[in-house]
Symmetry: C2
DNA sequence: TTAGAATTTGCATATAATTGCAATTGCAGA
DNA sequence: TCTGCAATTGCAATTATATGCAAATTCTAA
């Protein structure tokens, strides 16, 4: 049977109260003062556990390390590869798609945090201008 | 300026002809005989480069290492957390959703390989039965 | 309340992935 | 075809993550 231990509880509480996404190391730094014996492997294992329990979500934002956050208000992210800006997508916008896939493939989707990479409007425009205006020899 | 070097070309060619997804290590093993000087860091960097160029796609299947594949026929994956089975989702099924998000958020989506985790029909049913039929004391 | 079984943790170590830097390679222009 | 410079590679660390195992902790049932 699985147990909600001190370490797991503190880690979850931290993510829950912060309401921000954090890397494994940030979680470690935040919890360590209250649980000095805490070890990085416990952090990794606890995050994996909490994810599996559906209490938190992981997402790999591509640059750097994966981020974890409490799943209270389910949402998703658009990550701009140009300026690294992150846009929030409400689950409402995704729900229908998930339901369609679920039905079509008879598959219950657990994933609750989507990360889509691409270009925000500003960076897209910047790129278009660049391609059109620069002389060929200056292309990157 | 970016260059299509021997290493990058061989790595791409391997993924392209294989038409299978491979881990970084599998790519290394496949290319090494034809390019003995090849080094793992080159593999990682080349895979990153090819991904960025849109020639291949990465996907983190959760268990184990991320997998790479040539993007010829764009598709997506459903990964069953019960039996680890992988279902293929045609891009046709996803296209509409991407377009909607693109418009709504004025964001050009580059992501071309979605991985959704969950339970296939068989495992879902197995789990339902388990919850209903087992006496409380035998629960995991 | 406590004993005992089972899960979880810390530690040490292994594996995966990333990075700085010098040497090498590829390409545009002569 | 050759040259020079910028991009890429290999190597040797470094950092991030995962894992085996013994010790510690948690929970159930008596």
């Amino acid at each position: 049977m699985s147990r909600m231990t001190t370490a797991r509880a503190l880690i979850y509480e931290t993510l829950e109260t912060t309401q921000e996404h954090m890397t494994a190391y940030q979680v470690f730094d935040a919890v360590k003062p209250r649980l000095p014996s805490l070890n990085m492997s416990t952090v990794y294992r606890s995050l994996e556990y909490l994810t599996h329990e559906g209490l938190i979500s992981v997402a790999d934002v591509g640059e750097g390390m994966p981020i974890y956050e409490a799943v209270s208000n389910t949402h998703h992210h658009l990550v701009c590869e140009g300026c690294k800006k992150i846009l929030i997508v409400e689950h409402e916008q995704v729900k229908g798609f998930f339901e369609k896939i679920s039905q079509e493939y008879d598959f219950t989707i657990h994933t609750n945090h989507l990360i889509l990479f691409g270009l925000c409007e500003k960076c897209r425009r910047a790129k278009e201008n660049q391609s059109e205006e620069l002389p060929k020899s200056l292309h990157p």
